[in-house]
Symmetry: C2
Subunit: 412 residues, 2 copies
């Protein structure tokens, strides 16, 4: 069960004018489950994305990058995105690239556009060839049920080890006009995005210039998907795509405008919500942890320390056990690689409880106070470095028996 994350209600997910979604059960890995998603875009749409920095980046990621790069040079817009689960098409060499390209070609023919106007995505097992024939065979069924109100099914179609679909909507008023936005995400393991998450798609009905959208997607990812980790394993397939359909009334053509600021803020907030859903549904997660590192010299060192805490198996198992064995947090801070850190000035808080004062145990800290916070399902670890005014926040979950069970049995 995901930590304090109710299953989204289909009726609450707002259609976004200019994008239609359809799914199929193509039997990629297992029969009788939604495993293919097609998102069809209006010709007015702009699309921008950020991708994994993993050197073993999957074949579809390579194809996406090439098609988006082409976009900046040519005039043919992206017309559709296609996602399959059950197979990551990563570690698959030239055959994998051919499979991703064949998928684009097949969908392009069905939609009457060029293969370069399609963006392909895959998620699932690595180092196995994509069953491209089954994927292509499933495309007509997905096209047959393309509708604007299919977001809930779309969120379901991209799930792998997720226990529940992840989707949310929002609106923002800009100059008296409403922008509607809906996003979906997936991922529960191999989560430490280094550009974006496993898979995330967010559509807005504003009209946004390509270079402005490129800026906005990076800004949103840096404050959301790039601040989460479950197990420190950066995936081969991480992709976060921002789609501006251009079907609504609002238009943003410049980063230096109040319209941009308002829209980017709303997109970032919704991205954060989608990113948090991934952590709340982290494999085996029982706790949602916010790690806030403050008073650092720069953001980089704050992030280093936050990730060091978030990745420590000892910290994560202590939180699973609700055991305030908080010296493990100090150890993780100490080996984070901030080599001139003066630990004698450091303060550590668990929610409102002051645990470590000037590098040692706070004389007024009582074990029962730590215990009380540790039993909560949502906990903030706050570290104050006393050496500057930079800060960074990372979100993560605990490490439980179920994480081991899920990943020991993933392929069975």
């Amino acid at each position: 069960m995901a930590v304090n994350s109710p299953i989204p209600v289909a009726a609450d997910l707002k259609p976004v004018a200019g994008i239609r979604l359809g799914y199929a059960e193509a039997g990629i890995r297992k029969p009788n489950r939604k495993d293919v998603l097609v998102m069809e875009l209006a010709p007015t749409a702009t699309v921008s994305g950020v991708f994994t920095t993993n050197r073993f980046c999957a074949a579809p990621v390579q194809v996406c990058k090439a098609h988006l790069e082409g976009l900046h040079m040519a005039s043919s817009p992206i017309r559709a995105l296609v996602v399959n689960t059950g197979n990551a098409n990563a570690g698959t060499g030239d055959a994998g690239l051919a499979a991703a390209n064949a998928t684009c070609a097949a969908l392009a023919e069905l939609l009457g556009c060029e293969a370069s106007q399609i963006l392909p995505f895959s998620t699932g097992v690595i180092l196995e060839q994509l069953p491209v024939d089954r994927l292509v065979a499933g495309l007509p069924a997905a096209i047959a049920n393309l509708t604007a109100d299919n977001w809930f099914n779309a969120a379901t179609a991209i799930m792998t080890t997720d226990t529940q679909p992840k989707a949310a909507s929002a609106t923002v008023e800009i100059n008296g006009k409403t922008v509607t936005m809906t996003g979906i995400s997936k991922g529960a393991g191999m989560i430490k995005p280094n550009m974006a998450t496993m898979l995330g798609y967010l559509a807005i009905d504003a009209k946004v210039a390509q270079n402005v959208l490129d800026h906005m997607v990076k800004q949103a990812a840096d404050k959301s998907f790039n601040c989460i980790t479950i197990d420190g394993d950066t995936s081969t397939n991480d992709s976060f795509m921002l789609i501006a359909t251009g079907a609504g009334e609002v238009e943003v053509n410049d980063v230096e405008t109040p319209e941009y600021v308002a829209l980017a803020e709303a997109v970032t907030a919704l991205s954060q919500k989608l990113a948090h859903m991934i952590i709340r549904d982290g494999e085996g997660a029982t706790k949602f942890m916010t790690i806030a590192v403050e008073e650092g010299r720069d953001v980089e060192e704050c992030r280093k320390i936050a990730y060091s805490i978030a990745h420590s198996p000892l910290v994560k198992t202590a939180f699973f056990a609700s055991d305030p064995n908080l010296g493990r947090i100090l150890a993780a801070i100490g080996y984070a690689g901030v080599n001139d850190l003066d630990v004698g000035k450091l303060n550590l808080y668990l929610d409102d409880v002051w645990v470590a004062k000037n590098g040692g145990r706070n004389p007024e800290y009582r074990e029962e106070d730590g215990q009380r916070i540790m039993k909560q399902s949502e906990i903030t670890i706050r570290v104050k470095l006393a050496r500057g005014d930079a800060a960074a926040t990372v979100w993560t979950c605990d490490l439980s028996h179920d994480y081991v069970s899920i990943n020991a049995d993933y392929r069975s």
Copy 2:
């Protein structure tokens, strides 16, 4: 149960002339267990050590460093080492430093030397004050049973979550004379030494000049304790001490001699054995894994990739399950931070089985061959980068349910 690591037999552990060992049950954390160890050295002994790079280094580590530094300036040799378990005396501020110094003063008075001639060590829970009164009260009992053949009891006295004591002996012939050496180590969690392991002590009866010993201990640590990881958590208390008692016939005063080379080789081999014992007894370990990264541009990038694989929870759980989900290894290689790595040239082997060829699945690889190797208790993962002739090896273990259980219940 440790992986293929029989419990050492007391009678097989060779006394080393010039060092006597005694233990006590001081009730530091729990009653009725050996938790204090004293090692008394001959006045001819030289001592050198490497310590954790954790910024939260424990109070006893700070005192050790100060006393060893004093050694290089003054003439008073180190006369004894004292180790307690049950409390790490880390994250304890000024009170912790005072406790470590009080321990040295008390032992010095009992042995008739200066406090600066004592090296203190602690291991156990972080962020709790050391019960120094109980520790000091236990010292006379430890001194009362000081003998040269107490290595097995010494190894037992420094255990925490270890399931079995770790100790080994060796001899090496140098110019027709025998050097005898015996070492002990401890540690099973919070293991990713960055200078040395949790605790390791190796005594040799040769006479070795201080600057030569300083060189030898670094060389041995870099090829042993600095190449192991269980959970990536670098401890606050890591210490590896090399003691040359000077009581034997062999003398080494220069690094540039065949005698040095022979002795350093033997010390390194025994250090490796002690380091492997830690991995074999890793918390919850069911597999002993050797990760060999070859054909790299430099050792640094080989180590980065080896540690990335060794720390991946997804790789570790797959090995626990004997599931050849080997794409996870490729993903870990891909995010190791070697940014210009050409994955299209990379080859991956599991023992003798060629899994990935030129970055993709080897067409001749059969799942049942991977399965066969995965079921073994000892496995070598070999990665060939095809970009140079540097290499590095890291030893690690898998991640099991028992790791979570042990660390969720550590303090109970």
